[in-house]
């Protein structure tokens, strides 16, 4: 629990700092657009300046509260809030530790016991979020080359095979069916724009 708390407050501080940075950039940038308009009117920089300053102050407040506050917000027993209301899949379920990027403490020991090759193979399932994002990004980059249908099907096959550990046959089936569904819906039925080319 203390470990989680430490990592949480580290994340809180990082996010707080990002907010301060964004606020500062906006406030400083607003200077170039004019802060006050003529004759009591608005200048293009007025609102961004005000919001930038306010965001930076809020960021300082959040960071300071994490650093010096008695209680941090990611305590598991805190009140239900919106983002978690959305997340009430299993209400009361604690948000578990592993997330993308940061060394998931409870998984690492398992990984270190394995051989290098096995460890690499185990990575996608251990870091599902990072892996899926990576696959999606690669898929988007491949689209101009392979077309929407094939690259998207590949992404799905890769995700189901490596992250979800499904049989190759299942992965292929879902990938092809989903792509075909997209083709029927966007190209055939409504003729909506999709990344070109659709097929090769």
């Amino acid at each position: 629990m203390t470990m989680l708390r430490l990592r949480s407050s580290f994340g809180e501080i990082v996010i707080g700092t990002i907010l301060i940075a964004i606020g500062t950039v906006w406030a400083v940038g607003a200077g170039g657009y004019g802060l006050l308009g003529e004759g009591g009117r608005l200048a293009p920089g007025t609102l961004p300046f005000a919001c930038g300053v306010a965001l930076a102050i809020t960021g300082v407040f959040i960071t300071a509260k994490t650093l010096f506050g008695a209680r941090i917000d990611s305590d598991p027993d805190h009140e239900l809030d919106e983002s978690e209301a959305i997340a009430t899949a299993e209400s009361g379920a604690e948000q578990s530790a592993p997330d993308l990027g940061s060394g998931a403490s409870d998984k690492t020991p398992v990984l270190t016991r394995l051989s290098t090759a096995a460890r690499i193979r185990a990575l996608p399932a251990a870091y599902p979020v990072g892996t899926v994002l990576l696959f999606l990004a690669v898929g988007l980059l491949l689209m101009p080359l392979l077309g929407f249908a094939i690259s998207f099907a590949l992404v799905i096959v890769a995700i189901l095979r490596f992250v979800e550990k499904q049989a190759l046959r299942t992965a292929l089936l879902v990938g092809v069916v989903t792509s075909l569904f997209g083709f029927l819906l966007f190209e055939v039925l409504f003729n909506l724009p999709l990344p070109e080319p659709f097929f090769l």
Partner: protein, 513 residues
């Protein structure tokens, strides 16, 4: 009585079997379009307008009405079932609809939404028919200062989404406004925060951000949580029960009125209406502050009826002034011209049958939507019986393709992906999403309104207090949000801790302590 015979005329022409068939087709096609994130009623109507050109005007309008309402409902279906709101108006329905679906009450949420939509549609159309001339002068009294006041009122409602930390909610609201300033500024035509990137001239776009922040981030969150069991609900569980039905009426009634009056105001829109209706439910419900957002049917019925009523309210400026009140009405105005009708202040006197025919066909659209979707709602809900690994590839497809098709460029897809990461971390660290979206929607409205108001008043800010409607809204905002906080602060100083707790429960604003 002349009016009544005209209305009857409109009714008789509208209700032929072939017209009803086309309306049905419109509803089905519209629902499918609405299901796709990023594609709303405006796209649906624009897409199918050419198909209707060869039809009789009434038939065409009926079909367009079907598409219009169908696509709004379609957006609700995807928001409730798979947490993928197609537009910012259906986002609010998602706040409680999606948790309901996760608890196995998807069928009830969808049925309640259909009923609430129908109530919203019916109430607003009746108001439209009875009071159109009065309403048009009301719409005119609603200028830039009133828009600012309303935006401030809605902005303050972010407090309701604060949860554990008011500071985080405020930060997200500000971040939303800040993101909205990227791109060429409409008031000065200069590019802001584009860092020399031409791609940024058009801004990040509301829909790609919404798709990433809400829909894709939800997929990531589910992945992180690991596989869970699909729902094993029986057919009976998929239906709405009596208790839920009872809890639908009142929120739908409130939502209808809120939605209609906000919808009348040119440019104010359905998003604003649904957020304000949600806030109204939060205040009407016992313990609404705690319960809303956990899957309460009131949180579905209210915003859903507001959303639909606002869409109809947008017809007031269109029919009485000839100016579009929303993107969809802008396209429908185009349809008018195709049928040789010049929209404008003379429309009602020159083309009464057409106007009444239009309004009635909209009502028929609402009826068909209800008749079609009440039995279908449990069927849609059955999607959730599939394992998530078979559902989310389709969600990914809809998100990516939807993000692309808005502006026809890969750039929007990358934005969606980038904001998926942002949204994931926001959830992880309890930063609420709703204020960010609210800021994104209201920021430009607020800035434009401020600039215009100050221009009209030659730089005198007292304009917000000297115009009656603006003043009323500001007083309301103060009474609802600022007042209780100040009052509580004073009380806390005076009273013992136990009474402070009681005061906390009854008041709306709770800070992070």
């Amino acid at each position: 009585m002349d009016t009544w015979s005209l209305i009857l005329d409109g009714w008789n022409t509208a209700i032929t079997p072939s017209n009803l068939l086309f309306c049905l087709i419109g509803v089905v096609v519209g629902t499918v379009i609405g299901l796709l994130p990023g594609l709303g009623s405006a796209t649906g109507v624009a897409l199918l307008l050419p198909l209707t050109l060869t039809m009789e005007p009434v038939t065409a309008l009926i079909m367009l009405a079907g598409i219009y309402y169908g696509s709004q409902y379609g957006a609700t279906i995807s928001a409730v079932l798979i947490g993928t709101p197609g537009d910012s108006a259906s986002l609010v329905t998602m706040f409680d609809g999606y948790p309901m679906a996760q608890k196995g009450r998807a069928g009830a949420a969808l049925s309640s939404a259909a009923i609430a939509s129908f109530i919203g549609g019916t109430v607003s159309l009746v108001l439209l028919m009875v009071a159109m001339p009065i309403l048009s002068s009301f719409a005119l009294k609603f200028g830039p200062p009133e828009t600012v006041a309303l935006a401030i009122l809605a902005m303050l409602s972010v407090a309701g989404f604060a949860g554990s930390s008011l500071a985080k909610a405020i930060a997200m609201g500000l971040l939303g406004v800040i993101i909205a300033t990227i791109g060429i500024d409409g008031q000065s035509a200069i590019p802001r925060y584009t860092f020399g990137q031409v791609e940024l001239f058009g801004g990040l776009g509301l829909i790609p951000v919404l798709i990433g922040l809400v829909a894709l981030a939800e997929v990531l969150r589910q992945l992180n949580q690991g596989e869970k069991k699909p729902l094993r609900a029986g057919w009976r569980d998929m239906m709405i029960n009596k208790e839920e039905l009872r809890r639908t009426w009142k929120p739908a009634g409130r939502g209808s009125l809120i939605g209609f009056f906000i919808g009348i105001l040119p440019g104010a829109g359905a998003t604003l209406a649904s957020f304000i209706s949600y806030e109204a439910e939060r205040r009407s419900m016992k313990n609404g502050k705690k319960l809303l957002g956990t899957g309460m049917i009131e949180g579905v019925a209210g915003p859903e009826s507001a959303n639909n009523a606002a869409a109809n309210g947008a017809f007031v400026p269109m029919l009485t002034l000839g100016v579009p009140g929303s993107a969809t009405t802008a396209i429908l105005l185009g349809a008018f011209m195709v049928f040789g009708v010049q929209p404008g202040p003379l429309l009602l006197t020159q083309e009464p049958t057409l106007v009444w025919g239009l309004i009635l066909s909209f009502w028929i659209g609402n009826v068909i939507l209800l008749v079609l979707n009440l039995p279908l709602a449990p069927l849609f809900a059955a999607i959730l019986r599939f394992r998530y690994i078979f559902i989310y590839p389709a969600i990914l497809l809809l998100c990516l393709a939807g993000a692309f098709s808005i502006q026809n460029r890969m750039w929007s897809v990358w934005i969606a992906l980038g904001f998926a990461v942002v949204g994931f971390f926001m959830q992880r660290f309890s930063y609420p999403v709703a204020p960010l979206i609210l800021g994104l929607v209201l920021g430009p409205l607020l800035e434009k309104g401020l600039d215009r108001s100050l221009a009209i008043a030659h730089g005198d800010p007292s304009i917000f207090l000297t115009r009656p409607i603006s003043l009323t809204i500001l007083i309301l905002a103060f009474a609802l949000f600022v007042g209780p906080t100040v009052l509580r602060f004073i009380r806390r100083k005076a009273k013992s801790p136990s009474t402070v707790d009681a005061a906390l429960k009854s008041s709306v604003l709770e800070d992070s302590e």
